[in-house]
């Protein structure tokens, strides 16, 4: 095998990933324990359990795909957090035990996931488990205090405690998710955590605020709060979904249009896709954050656009074989094209500098890391192509290593070497 990054969707997936299963098993145990504990103590306030359960199931049904292969269920999370935090439902104090909060949340999540399963969309167990763990943590921390009446009776004593619980639960969920992603994507933990916190922050803020709103509103409105509250967060959710949708379409479109060079016979079929997958894998190996990886992916997909300015395609599309000046002209023209899109200036810059050698002759700045990665990934693909022969891969890496000092960044080539022929 030449390397993991040849997998169809680009992201390496380990079917039996230890961290992933550990988390899912833990969530499963939580479910069993909570249901058993609730069965023993009996269900406190059945109406509330049903109402919150219905909201959580509904929210789970409307789960949301976020950029970067992530999932969120803002309505479900807000409902579950509110259930964990609620102090009074109407005139009656809520004395729900943590086990009941966890049991209702877990069962409702499973019910909400059923329709997805029925139409063949498997549940993302990891994401669901992480959400459940966060709710369990909030319930375990808050419920005993609330049930003992230690939170005070006015909002200025209650609110800070609730805010703290929500923040800690969110952080915990991010840490768990980042750990799993570190494992699955070969990313670095600190980078993965930063990405996670950044991407989830707006949603977490909206979800947390909504959870507080519903928890307080339940005191005045009773369970009607659950109903009324669903409409507004639905609006937030619609906006988020549209945003996530167009981001996905954008990437899809760039992927498709980057193939113009293949259709025109300028490069070998699949070249852009392979270079971009390899470049992203290298970037991740080198600890680049997600935003930079996205730019790297765009740049890698479009790195050969400049060849459209050639009247006749370079034989085999292998730019590694043409003269330096021509490489530079192609890169320059490609950057010009991308710059016309007005929104991808940093991508244009990456494409422009891709033909510069790693160590410049003292006159100019070294090219950005992304350019150096694309340069190496492109050269590697020109040498290896779609072949999966491992000796050929090793040869190509060896050839890039020979050139290393001047042409290719040694660090990038090392990362590339690790990816395509991992040390046994």
């Amino acid at each position: 095998m030449a390397g993991r990054w040849y997998e169809p969707r680009g992201l390496p997936r380990h079917a039996l990933d230890s961290g992933h299963w550990l988390l899912v098993a833990f969530a499963g145990l939580l479910l069993i324990w909570s249901v058993a504990a609730t069965a023993v103590t009996g269900v406190h306030n059945v109406d509330a359990a049903l109402a919150f359960g219905a909201l959580i199931a509904f929210g789970e049904l409307l789960r949301l795909n976020l950029p970067g292969d992530r999932e969120a269920a803002p309505i479900a999370t807000a409902g579950a957090m509110a259930y964990a935090l609620v102090l009074r439902i109407g005139s009656e104090p809520a004395r729900t035990w943590p086990s009941q909060v966890v049991a209702v949340t877990a069962l409702a999540m499973l019910i909400g996931a059923l329709p997805h399963l029925a139409v063949g969309r498997p549940a993302k167990l990891t994401a669901m488990s992480a959400r459940l763990v966060a709710v369990a943590c909030a319930a375990a921390a808050f419920r005993p205090l609330a049930n003992a009446g230690l939170i005070g009776s006015r909002w200025w004593t209650q609110l800070p405690v609730m805010l703290g619980v929500i923040a800690v639960a969110w952080f915990l969920e991010s840490v768990v998710t980042a750990l799993i992603r570190t494992d699955a994507l070969r990313a670095r933990f600190s980078v993965a955590l930063g990405d996670e916190l950044r991407v989830q922050f707006p949603i977490a803020a909206a979800t947390g605020a909504s959870a507080l709103l519903i928890a307080f509103a339940a005191e005045v409105m009773g369970l009607a709060a659950v109903l009324v509250f669903a409409a507004p967060l639905l609006v937030t959710q619609v906006a988020l979904r549209r945003y996530a949708g167009i981001r996905a379409t954008y990437l899809q479109t760039v992927r498709a249009l980057a193939r113009v060079t293949e259709i025109g016979g300028y490069v070998e079929t699949g070249h852009s896709a392979r270079v971009s997958r390899l470049a992203v894998a290298i970037g991740r190996e080198l600890g680049m954050p997600e935003a930079a990886l996205l730019e790297l992916e765009y740049a890698a997909l479009m790195h050969d656009i400049g060849q459209l300015s050639l009247r006749d395609p370079v034989p085999g599309g292998a730019t590694v074989l043409v003269a330096r000046d021509e490489q530079r002209r192609i890169a320059e023209y490609g950057a010009e094209v991308i710059q016309q899109a007005r929104v991808l200036d940093s991508v244009a810059d990456i494409v422009r500098r891709q033909s510069d050698p790693c160590r410049p002759d003292g006159r100019s700045q070294p090219p950005p890391l992304s350019s150096r990665i694309i340069r190496a990934a492109n050269a590697y693909d020109d040498l290896v192509g779609s072949s999966t022969d491992s000796s050929r891969a090793a040869e190509a890496v060896a050839r890039l290593r020979l050139d290393t000092a001047a042409e290719y960044d040694p660090q990038v080539v090392d990362a590339l070497g690790n990816l395509v022929s991992p040390a046994a």
């Binding site: 005191e219 509250f229 609006v235 167009i246 479109t253 498709a256 002209r329 007005r342 929104v343």
Partner: protein, 429 residues
């Protein structure tokens, strides 16, 4: 809104006068001015974070939330007073007249919503535990009235100030927008309900999800603009291969949109056909330049290569998920109504609608621009040609729509190609 007709002035004047009467008349007895102040601030915050929508002069803000909360907490007059905050919104864009009208519109919507709330048996004041769920019915009535009055007043002013042939009037007043507005209106009842528990801290908590939604909407709009710019830049890159077709995609896209709007297609479909127009010829990249620019007739092999281009274009853009209908347009834009086109030889209604629209726009732009083998034809001549072939090559309905749109809005033909302009090749860069 540079020059308003007398009737538009009358309309705006009447709205402002009605609003002033509502505010001045009162009664002010029993109003909690501190509460009105806090809600007014909330409204100013919402108004200041208004987002411009793509249509002309249309911005959207979450004001409904604050005024509906005021309806419950302070009653019709209080809500009208809170809505005066619209005037103070910190945002660039609206002129004095627009601000006046917007304020009057919100004052009237809030006041009438307040009356509806009372008429349906709602009680004004901070709701307590006994108010729910009885409050929901009157509140829903108030929300519907608020959105409806807002819609009618806005639609009126758009209709009176519209420029002839402005298709965006209909597109801008999108049904979904008013549904969104209702959704935000529901925040109003939350603010009112929470007032007894959280007091003036309520708006802070309520604003967070609202601002996140605004953020997501803004991101969406930015991403959409980026998307458009990127597709168009890539299409231009494809066109550099052949100087004579430079700008062709852009113009075909414009023409297709003119036809689509003229026949009253839904805005989403107009958007899709715009992309279809931009992308309809990407497959030409697979045709050798020498064939595309050949003077004189093509050999059979060369003709076969040309005929393949819609399919190659399709191959490329097939993976772009949202383009379903556009894909059919790209694939079949060289079909003819009489069945003599390519690649499938479909006839009449078998040809997808998008393809028939694109066919008209494509042929028209080809006729009115220079080619390596002939000069551009004048527009009237090209129109006559479209008419002549309507029913054989083109769908007559779309030819009529296109001609009507051109006669009203005009058409910008491309600059003539300078003689002997060389292709942009690696040697000449």
């Amino acid at each position: 809104m540079d020059r308003l007709s007398r009737i538009a002035w009358l309309y705006i004047g009447a709205a402002v006068a009605a609003a002033v009467i509502v505010v001045v008349k009162g009664p002010y007895a029993g109003l909690d001015w501190g509460q009105i102040g806090v809600l007014g601030l909330l409204l100013v915050a919402c108004e200041s974070s208004a987002t411009l929508l793509n249509a002309r002069n249309l911005a959207w803000s979450a004001n409904t939330m604050a005024s509906l909360a005021a309806v419950v907490l302070c009653g019709p007059v209080g809500a009208a007073l809170v809505s005066c905050g619209t005037l103070l919104g910190i945002r660039r864009g609206p002129s004095i007249v627009q601000r006046m009208f917007n304020t009057a519109m919100y004052v009237l919507s809030a006041y009438l919503a307040g009356r509806a709330f009372l008429a349906f048996g709602g009680h004004v004041g901070t709701p307590g535990q006994s108010s729910f769920p009885g409050l929901i019915g009157p509140f829903a009535a108030a929300a519907v009235v608020h959105v409806a009055v807002n819609f009618l007043l806005l639609h009126g002013v758009f209709w009176l100030t519209r420029e002839p042939g402005d298709a965006s009037v209909r597109g801008g007043l999108d049904f979904k927008l008013w549904l969104t507005d209702l959704g935000y209106g529901a925040f109003g009842v939350l603010i009112a309900a929470l007032w007894s528990v959280l007091g003036p801290f309520t708006p802070v908590l309520v604003l967070i999800p609202v601002f996140v939604a605004r953020w997501a909407v803004a991101q969406f709009a930015a991403q959409q603009r980026a998307y458009e710019a990127t597709v168009s830049a890539l299409c231009q890159a494809v066109e550099t291969k052949d100087f004579y077709t430079r700008g062709h995609s852009e113009r075909v896209s414009r023409g297709a949109v003119m036809i689509a709007s003229e026949i009253g297609m839904r805005p989403e479909r107009v958007g899709a056909i715009r992309y279809a127009g931009m992308l309809h010829d990407v497959g030409k990249l697979g045709v050798p330049t020498s064939v595309l620019q050949k003077r004189g007739s093509l050999t059979d092999d060369e003709y076969a290569a040309v005929q393949l281009h819609p399919m190659r274009g399709l191959d490329m853009v097939r993976e772009i998920g949202f383009l379903d209908e556009a894909l059919a347009g790209i694939m079949h834009h060289h079909e003819r109504i009489d069945g003599k086109g390519y690649p499938m030889g479909l006839a009449g209604d078998e040809i997808p609608e998008f393809a028939r629209v694109l066919g008209v726009a494509d042929a028209f732009d080809a006729m009115t621009s220079d080619r390596s083998y002939r000069g551009a034809r004048p527009i009237p001549e090209a129109i006559a040609e479209l008419r002549k072939w309507a029913g054989k090559q083109f769908d007559p309905a779309f030819v009529d729509a296109f001609v009507a749109a051109i006669e009203r809005d005009g058409w910008t033909a491309p600059e003539p190609a300078p003689a002997g302009e060389p292709l942009r090749t690696i040697e000449s860069l």
